[in-house]
Symmetry: C2
Subunit: 440 residues, 2 copies
């Protein structure tokens, strides 16, 4: 063991996560060597701008600017930590083509180009590790790849976007508007200056495609399943849900349904006595149900410098030990098994929360009920409070607007979509009509 | 990959877990072969009584009664699933001496003889896998051994005895006495006819010694740290805790404290907004804090046939792939690193919940307060309700007895023990005085 050569690493990109990885490898080096059976050396840290401050002190000669150093015979593994998909894709291809293993935290890249990159890795006999791409420090990739391997996975339900979860927690806890909660998330470093990818559900959906491929062998692209963000939610929606005994969470779901796979990423009402409902702030939780193990939960910080770096370094340790190279060829990442086909969205069956701002005049509620009835959607319960809308919100000279919430019995997404078309045509209903699924 | 020989397994003991393992291996065989890169065959299932019904149909020739078959050249791995420590220890030694890998779910065995067995495995170049020994299907052993390997572990706090957790949940939810809740746990199959090992904290403490060794390299035996069961708790204690904003859980703790390791397994008051407080029924949860990843939580069913069998089969898959053989020599299981020494119990610092049944006469509370004050234990808050004790409970002819609850500020276990000695001498206090720690 003692005579094993060190594992030699090039870190490409020394931003938040990259410098966190360098920090762990330098500061915990003895501990890591013991867990790895050999040392893990940062040989190069390749950046565009070597003058930028990094928050980590690297040994002399490590900081470099040439991407060609990835191909050096002194390198065994390339850590792609620059983000984005264009240059990042090139870096991963260049590394694999040069015969290097790759560690990446880049879910957008894997979602977009994973199929091609995994294929290339297989051709080259190299390994791509991506524990950090989903839920940061929470070891859900290892969970699916190894720990729960005895199980046929039945379902995955996941809160994997910490930014959205922080915003939703902040709104309800501090009775904040969506806009104020976003501003607070930005102050605390949980949201980017442009938070679009987080709040519109893209980030969570990208992570879902990775989980779905690992657990069910199913390749899905972002357009193959319903995706909805938290950006249309109002504080009032969280309060109605609360009144009904639910929490609203941005939930990514992949669930076996006969020979099909049900997939969606949507803000969802979750009963407040379920573990998922208790996940607050920027924490993530992934619930995995296996046929033998039943339900298991993995939770922790899904983003942030050190949690993400922890996952990247655990991948490096798996490569140093040799486990990752053994596991990678056995993953269902190239349709080696018969994958489950994606259930057409129209056939997804759930209960729904419908929130209308309706003109307060005779016949409005009856119009809504009639449209739902025509599509065989039955109403389980409804809420209408007086004076819920501040007069200023309904505007001068307009008729008074009242919020009206309907909870449906189980129906299909197809029936709901057909009803939606008529509902949005209805003059008595404001265009901000909102529909959310309920996870029972 | 296709030409790899099957991994050949002898299951020793075909009780609940053993038959669950056989079931998964037979029913999920294709899925498991894909995850393992080769088949996993049950060659022998060795039992004492071959006529007993097993709930699983084995292929002809598999059921056997001779322990010598473990040594057969047709066997690669022995699964020790008979429980107990005497015969089980012999089985593991016989298997290792015959050059077989071992998978076991036996925490009592590892706690008692782990040191010797791990040493023997190392000498023979063989692997012992024990994912199922702690928290059943919840992959906390793999979490500590692999996923969180980049981290210096700071603390582990764990609910690992499902029986106790079920009883505590049942008591509070159904306002049951301890005895009624135990009976209910027995009806539901969560408690043995003799539940002593579960309810007196032994089982949880055994699991804690395994976690402490993996995470901190520290060898502890059961007498090295405070251990307390749930068998002295009354419903009233759970209700007082609830009133104060806490849940009572049987909590196993291993926590880095300077150069020392703080270890204890005790019913503990946990603030009701913490994730651990929300674990109900027979579920387990392990909170692991690492220096990089922060806090992570692993949760699921910690016992039961199929969850435990899921963990055993995941170990078999790890052996089939070859990962387990690479990981085992790198675990801190033989003091290869400098282990943390156990913090003397007297030096553990916490807040405490003290519950007295005191004689309702002038001066009683003052006696209690004086004794605590003499030991420099200061009182943070107290509860005394009227009419809490049913008159019948205090017995004929006795003075009226009132419950009195004190919450202390932070103090040491040593100070508390010294105070205990005086408190139990105090005539005004009933002998059922109860002291529980509070985890903040």
């Amino acid at each position: 063991m003692a005579d094993l050569q060190p594992l030699r690493v090039a870190i490409v990109g020394l931003g938040t996560v990259g410098s966190g990885v360098a920090k762990i490898l330098l500061e915990n080096s003895q501990h890591i060597a013991r867990r790895s059976g050999r040392e893990i050396d940062v040989v190069f840290a390749i950046v565009r701008d070597p003058t930028k401050p990094r928050g980590v002190t690297l040994p002399d000669g490590v900081l470099a600017t040439s991407f060609e150093l990835m191909e050096s015979p002194e390198i065994d593994v390339v850590c792609e930590l620059i983000g984005g998909t264009t240059t990042a894709g090139d870096v991963v291809r260049q590394a694999l083509n040069a015969g290097k293993h790759v560690v990446t935290a880049n879910k957008a890249l894997l979602c977009e180009q994973g199929d091609e990159l995994f294929q290339l890795a297989r051709e080259k006999g190299k390994t791509i590790c991506f524990e950090a791409a989903v839920a940061g420090g929470v070891p859900v990739i290892e969970g699916l790849s190894q720990s729960l391997a005895a199980n046929q996975i039945q379902s995955i339900e996941a809160i994997v976007n910490g930014t959205s979860n922080f915003i939703l927690t902040e709104m309800l806890d501090h009775q904040s508007s969506y806009e104020d909660a976003v501003a607070r998330a930005q102050e605390k470093g949980y949201a980017e200056a442009d938070p679009t990818m987080d709040v519109d559900g893209t980030d969570a959906a990208q992570k879902l495609t990775i989980l779905a491929q690992l657990a069910f062998g199913t390749k899905a692209s972002l357009n193959d399943f319903p995706r909805q963000g938290i950006d249309k939610l109002k504080l009032a929606d969280l309060k109605y849900a609360d009144e009904l005994g639910y929490r609203v969470k941005l939930l990514a779901v992949a669930k076996r349904n006969g020979d099909f796979l049900e997939l969606h990423t949507q803000p969802t009402l979750i009963h407040d006595n379920l573990p998922m409902a208790a996940i607050y702030d920027a924490y993530n939780m992934i619930e995995i149900e296996g046929d033998a193990v039943g339900k298991t939960w993995f939770s922790g910080m899904g983003a942030g410098q050190m949690p993400t770096a922890s996952a990247v370094v655990s991948d490096l340790i798996d490569l140093a030990v040799g486990r990752a190279q053994q596991t990678f060829p056995l993953l269902d990442l190239w349709g080696q098994s018969e994958p489950l086909r994606i259930l057409p969205a129209e056939k997804i069956e759930r209960r729904y929360y419908l929130r209308f701002h309706a003109i307060d005049q005779p016949g409005t509620i009856s119009s809504i009920a009639t449209i739902l009835g025509n599509h065989e959607i039955s109403i389980a319960s409804c809420i209408q409070h007086e004076f819920e809308i501040h007069p200023a919100d309904s505007g001068e000279g307009k008729a008074s607007i009242v919020p009206f919430v309907v909870i449906t019995h189980t129906t299909t997404e197809g029936q709901m979509r057909a009803a939606d078309e008529e509902l949005i045509q209805c003059d008595a209903i404001e265009p901000d009509y909102l529909r959310l699924p309920i996870q029972d």
